[in-house]
């Protein structure tokens, strides 16, 4: 049988028509769509049984209770956990804290002058420096108040060195009060009974206590806020005093003058703050009637307030009768310490150390990106001094130190969280290790302890501390789930430790101690006028946050970028700058080039820029606070 061309065409046509009627081509199209959109390099999500574990956030002193969601053994998200009858949502940094272990800037090996070196090189250098330093040894603790901080003080007492902080353990306001009072009581804010909390430049709703607690609509106190910038705290405050930049001292002094009836100071304060005399007087009288307390605390990103501001705020608190009063600043007990730990080295401010005096400095850079320009540290170092920094990130002070040690990061180790300044009672809570620490990562306090001859692990020390809390049988254990347990009902210290390791938070319930107002600072205060072109920093995307924070800083402009300056359209017109232009800003300390952005919400005469390296280059430490004045602003 002959095959004609027609047969071939019929076969081909029939095959084509048959194929079209079969599912094959449609399946092929569907599969092609899937193949073309599911590449092998698209990350696969983790697999494993979903479980939840409680812990405590240790990224700031607020110590929010956290419920970690795990896939297998890996935390895949962190959410606020209800504790003590209150669920306080986490801040943006806390929500993505489980990413820090994978941060691209993670310090993974020991560095010497920015280059990898053997792990024992800093040990040898430190031992040699300590041996020849004759007591000129110090630890700079950038997250004071932890058990690790107490251990540093214990080791330094043995070595005869100094324990240094930038932000005092108690917070700036309470520290200034503590310096004027006597006795064992530790000053603390009694916010549960406060009528009005007057915040003077303090990020009360952003980074002072658990944001969920501060922003909770059912919180009892009313918030008044004085700040030059329209911050989140300013926006949510019941009353916002839009003072001129760097006029916090004048504002507090103005309220004191209004109470004292000092007309001359009141007039001067009104001129400096931009708040009228009548408004200051009315506010002062309202505060007197409202069971009020004033706070001026360190901003974790922008730095501490000026010392003169703290003096004026201490005086204001005394005038308001807030010291030792329910709803004001009361006395609380410390979280107990094991008796065998004493003596401890005294806490000193970094500012208080004489220049060029330190021969060995160990920095526990637990908060890389803290508002601490290297020049503030460098001035304290003697020629040839050895500096060792321990940090999980390469972005902090690791780059400037002689040696940098890779430290374990959040969720990798067992740490405790200090009592926050806004807590009226002592606390003890543990941040639990949920993931394996990175290879080569060390626990900074254990590393330093070995230099002082202490080989004990931090976990063992924490257990010792828990054992010291239990015998008092005071307070309550707030478990991660279930009912609150009184410590007196627990059978042993081991049971107390087990409850703490299960995510429980101990909270003291001892009676408030008597806090007697001592010799508080008195007027007159040194009042300074704002500069013609004042540079004011705002929060920046520090090094210690997840890469996901680009959502706020890069992929939207919710937060200002570090290389941007915001100014009022009138100020821009005066300086002949327009939106999007590049400007070169010169201060007495340095200069930088930034992009100009117009913002009608910025006060005229103010240059608002994100803190960060550009800001550090321009600012100087004046009266304990970082401050910068633009001498010249020209188009770049």
């Amino acid at each position: 049988m002959a095959h004609l061309r027609r047969d071939f065409l019929i076969f081909t046509g029939g095959a084509g028509a048959g194929l079209a009627l079969s599912p094959a081509p449609w399946r092929l199209i569907g599969d092609t769509a899937l193949w073309s959109q599911n590449w092998s390099w698209i990350p696969k999500t983790p697999r494993g049984e979903i479980s939840y574990k409680p812990t405590v956030c240790e990224l700031c002193p607020a110590g929010c209770a956290v419920r970690a969601r795990l896939a297998g053994t890996q935390p895949v998200s962190l959410w606020a956990a209800p504790q003590g009858g209150n669920t306080a949502p986490l801040c943006p940094a806390g929500l993505c804290g489980h990413h820090l272990a994978f941060h691209p800037s993670r310090l993974r090996t020991t560095w010497r002058e920015g280059k990898p070196c053997a792990a024992n090189a800093p040990v040898e250098a430190a031992a040699k420096a300590i041996a020849s330093a004759q007591g000129a040894v110090a630890v700079l603790d950038l997250r004071p108040g932890r058990t690790a901080s107490l251990l540093y003080r214990k080791h330094l007492a043995k070595l005869g060195g100094h324990y240094l902080t930038v932000t005092p353990t108690l917070g700036s306001t309470l520290q200034s009060i503590a310096e004027t009072t006597q006795g064992p009581a530790v000053p603390a804010f009694d916010l549960d009974n406060t009528g009005v909390l007057l915040s003077i430049g303090t990020p009360v709703l952003e980074a002072w206590d658990a944001p969920g607690r501060m922003l909770n609509p059912s919180r009892k106190f009313r918030l008044w806020h004085a700040e030059a910038l329209e911050s989140a705290t300013a926006l949510a405050a019941e009353r916002w005093f839009r003072i001129r930049p760097n006029s916090e001292t004048a504002f507090a002094a103005g309220l004191v003058a209004a109470i004292d009836g000092d007309r001359a100071t009141l007039r001067q304060a009104a001129d400096l703050t931009g708040i009228s005399e009548s408004e200051l007087t009315a506010a002062a009288h309202d505060l007197l009637k409202s069971n009020a307390v004033a706070v001026a605390d360190t901003h974790p990103v922008l730095g501490p307030p000026a010392r003169e501001t703290l003096r004026a705020v201490a005086c204001l608190n005394a005038r308001l009768g807030a010291i030792g009063r329910k709803g004001g600043i009361i006395g609380r007990n410390e979280t107990p310490l094991p008796k065998t730990w004493g003596p401890l080295a005294l806490e000193t401010s970094l500012d208080g150390v004489p220049d060029a005096s330190l021969h060995f400095l160990f920095i526990d850079d637990a908060t890389p990106g803290a508002p601490l320009p290297w020049k503030a540290i460098a001035s304290k170092l003697a020629p040839g001094a050895v500096v060792v920094s321990a940090s999980w990130s390469t972005n902090g002070l690791a780059r400037q130190a002689n040696y940098a040690l890779p430290a374990i990061s959040y969720l990798e180790g067992l740490h405790d969280v200090p009592t926050p300044p806004a807590s009226a009672s002592a606390r003890f809570a543990l941040s639990l290790p949920l993931v394996e620490p990175a290879a080569k990562a060390i626990e900074p306090v254990e590393w330093f302890g070995r230099l002082a001859g202490d080989e004990m692990k931090l976990a063992d020390r924490l257990k010792e501390r828990a054992s010291a809390i239990y015998p008092g049988k005071r307070g309550e254990m707030h478990p991660a789930s279930g009912e609150v347990v009184r410590v007196s009902t627990l059978k042993s210290a081991e049971e107390f430790w087990t409850a703490a390791m299960a995510g429980g938070r101990w909270q003291d319930d001892a009676e408030a101690l008597t806090l007697k107002a001592g010799r508080t600072p008195q007027p007159p205060f040194h009042l300074e006028s704002a500069a013609t072109l004042e540079l004011v920093p705002t929060a920046w995307m520090g090094a210690d946050v997840s890469p996901l924070m680009t959502k706020l800083w890069v992929e939207s402009s919710l937060k200002p970028r570090t290389q941007q300056v915001f100014l009022h359209p009138d100020t821009a017109r005066r300086l002949a700058l327009e939106h999007g232009a590049r400007a070169r800003i010169t201060s007495s300390c340095g200069e930088c080039s930034v992009e100009v952005a117009l913002d009608a919400a910025v006060q005229p005469g103010v240059l608002q820029m994100a803190a960060g390296q550009a800001w550090f280059a321009l600012c100087e430490t004046r009266d304990g606070a970082l401050r910068a004045e633009a001498k010249k602003v020209v188009r770049a």
């Binding site: 590449w39 999500t45 989140a232 926006l235 996901l548 959502k551 939207s556």
Partner: protein, 247 residues
């Protein structure tokens, strides 16, 4: 379109954002990215090419500021993106009222982005990438989307699925209650979520109160996201997109 006295068989999930309570902290944006496996910015990303299914917009008016969380407004019948999609990659789920985006069907034409009056849709210009190791911390309930597709807020559909599975396992029928990530994360409790068809739900009650409004209400898209503000200038701006804003 808010139920007054009945509870429907189907849910119409909706949201109310109290602008007066929003402090612009950005927790909702981060929670959304963590929950939905949205990667950090690609090296070339900026405000226009970044992916922020939930974006807090800073709105200024005469020296005063308001923060407005913006996400897919979950339009009703006249949903512009559904109407223009040539691939049926956008669907309005009658069971939930959620406008869903199906990445496997999306061919990346971006008609939906052009059609969306709220600029609430984002295009994946690059393959999703996380710093080395961080992919281990992704949410197992949500698959990362590939390059070349559009994405947007879907009221955390993964969470709805989990809630639904749990309800089925417990032999429960009808709409399920769940909480999207942004609602759970908001420290100032500015966002309320629930079933608008349920007359007893909090979101239903809040959406009917004085000062509640919807964005660009006059164009008839019937969004299921409501806003609330007692400030006149914020309400006035709701229908006016010409004001300057940063965000």
């Amino acid at each position: 379109m808010i139920a007054h006295n009945s509870k429907s068989k189907n849910a119409r999930y909706g949201m109310l954002v109290d602008i007066d309570r929003c402090t612009g902290c950005g927790a909702c944006m981060i929670a959304c990215a963590v929950e939905n496996n949205v990667p950090p910015a690609a090296p070339t990303a900026n405000e226009r090419t970044g992916i922020t299914p939930m974006r807090v917009v800073r709105y200024e008016h005469a020296g005063r500021t308001a923060f407005v969380p913006m996400m897919c407004q979950q339009c009703e019948e006249e949903t512009p993106c559904v109407a223009v999609c040539p691939q049926n990659a956008v669907e309005l789920d009658p069971a939930t009222g959620i406008v869903g985006q199906i990445p496997q069907r999306c061919l990346g034409c971006r008609y939906c982005m052009a059609a969306c009056p709220y600029h609430a849709r984002y295009f994946n210009w690059a393959d999703p990438a996380w710093p080395a190791g961080m992919e281990k911390a992704l949410n197992p309930a949500v698959a990362p989307r590939m390059r070349g597709v559009v994405e947007k807020c879907n009221f955390c559909h993964g969470r709805w699925h989990e809630a639904k599975e749990l309800a089925v396992a417990n032999n429960e029928t009808g709409p399920v209650a769940y909480t999207p990530a942004c609602v759970e994360a908001c420290p100032s409790r500015a966002i309320t979520f629930g079933d608008l068809n349920d007359a007893s739900s909090q979101v239903n009650e809040l959406a009917r109160q004085q000062g509640a409004f919807r964005l660009l209400d006059s164009i008839g898209t019937e969004p299921k996201v409501y806003y609330h503000s007692r400030r006149d200038w914020v309400q006035a701006a709701a229908g006016n997109s010409k004001e300057t804003h940063r965000g």
